[in-house]
């Protein structure tokens, strides 16, 4: 991403933050379950992008997808350090501010329509497949942890993940991609 890696351009980085931080925070909030931990994850994710000068490869998806992958990985790192696992069942403090529909830009409205389709594709999965995908992606649990939780062989858990993600791909179509 030239926007970010060019000579330490803080202003360009600010633009990237403003465009994608809501999505990153929403993902982290869903994964961590607590605002303070979600903030830590997002801060760590963006600062790691800044400090490393990580190179963005347009061939591998949009800037948004890249930022969200880093955020997801940071949240999983936090889980594996034991920082957030205990908080997954903690009730939301209710302090985070939802994006109000009336303030959404056209771009956000479009994204919300896409989000509805994606949510629907996830909800339409057989419950056993949706469960393992949600536990893995949003819960940050490994396949062995999920197998233990559900009392299933690890191979069964991975098989359900594969079936579920394949069905979602078919439901969403070949052009599935995160907008820039």
């Amino acid at each position: 991403m030239r926007l970010v890696q060019d000579e330490g351009d803080a202003r360009a980085f600010e633009v990237v933050f403003d465009r994608h931080a809501d999505a990153a925070f929403s993902l982290a909030y869903r994964m961590c379950g607590r605002r303070a931990l979600a903030e830590d994850v997002v801060q760590e994710a963006f600062l790691s992008l800044w400090r490393s000068g990580a190179r963005y490869d347009p061939a591998r998806g949009s800037v948004r997808a890249w930022v969200l992958r880093v955020t997801h990985n940071r949240a999983i790192d936090a889980f594996r350090r034991g920082a957030a696992k205990d908080s997954l069942d903690v009730a939301d403090e209710g302090a985070a501010e939802r994006v109000p529909a009336r303030e959404m830009t056209d771009e956000e409205v479009h994204r919300r329509e896409d989000a509805r389709e994606i949510r629907s594709a996830l909800d339409d999965l057989p419950s056993d497949q949706r469960q393992v995908i949600e536990l893995a992606y949003f819960g940050g649990f490994s396949h062995t942890q999920i197998a233990e939780m559900l009392g299933l062989p690890a191979g069964t858990v991975k098989g359900r993940m594969r079936l579920g993600i394949t069905k979602m791909r078919l439901a969403l179509g070949e052009g599935t991609e995160v907008a820039a």
């Binding site: 997808a65 994204r111 949003f138 991975k158």
Partner: protein
Amino acid sequence: MSEWRPENRDCSGDPAAYVLGALEPDEVDAFREHMVTCVVCRDEVATFERVADVLPSAVPQYRVPRSLRKRVMREVRAHPRAPEQPPRRAWPISLSLIPRPALAAASLAAAAVIAIVVIATASGGSGARLLNASVVGLPGSAQVRVAHGRAELIVRDFPSPPAGHIYEVWLERGSAPPAPTNTLFSVNSAGTADVGVSGSLRGVSAVLVTPEPNGGSPVPTHAPVIVARLD
């Protein structure tokens, strides 16, 4: 957790678990090595990643707290990044420098970086071109910096080669078979390598990278995992 052994394990469930972040940390490294040689897994990861990438859209959307924005931008302004390095001169790596296979990968990558930094301070370089390379079926990115008829390969977030293997750089000229170079490399623990490519770029149409048995190979034995078109 069982040890990941591609020769005796069904890998069909691993691509989905990988893109969902559900493999154990040690399995991730092993699976990345496996992907170097398993085209089926590479293709599935590329396909499944597109689904995993949209999953965040399925969650309720919140505004990022303004206090967080202030904290991040304060840190960013307090710690500006160093400007990008000036174009670097290529640094050829000789096969004869490789002592033992396992040590070779790490020592070559480290030595190359040190040498490049030293040389870069002595040469400003001009007229350099930075070209994006295609990474085929693996995570990570690659670029080739071309200056003064030489190339430097810059690899980021790239998996280590499979056990007993090393990455080898090839130069392709027109329709002729790729010619081997003396450049062998691996990546460090962060998946990074900056490697000078030996040999002149005269007539070269593409720089290729393949995983090869330690010590290199006179002919490619695997499909390229990095392709940089120079023309």
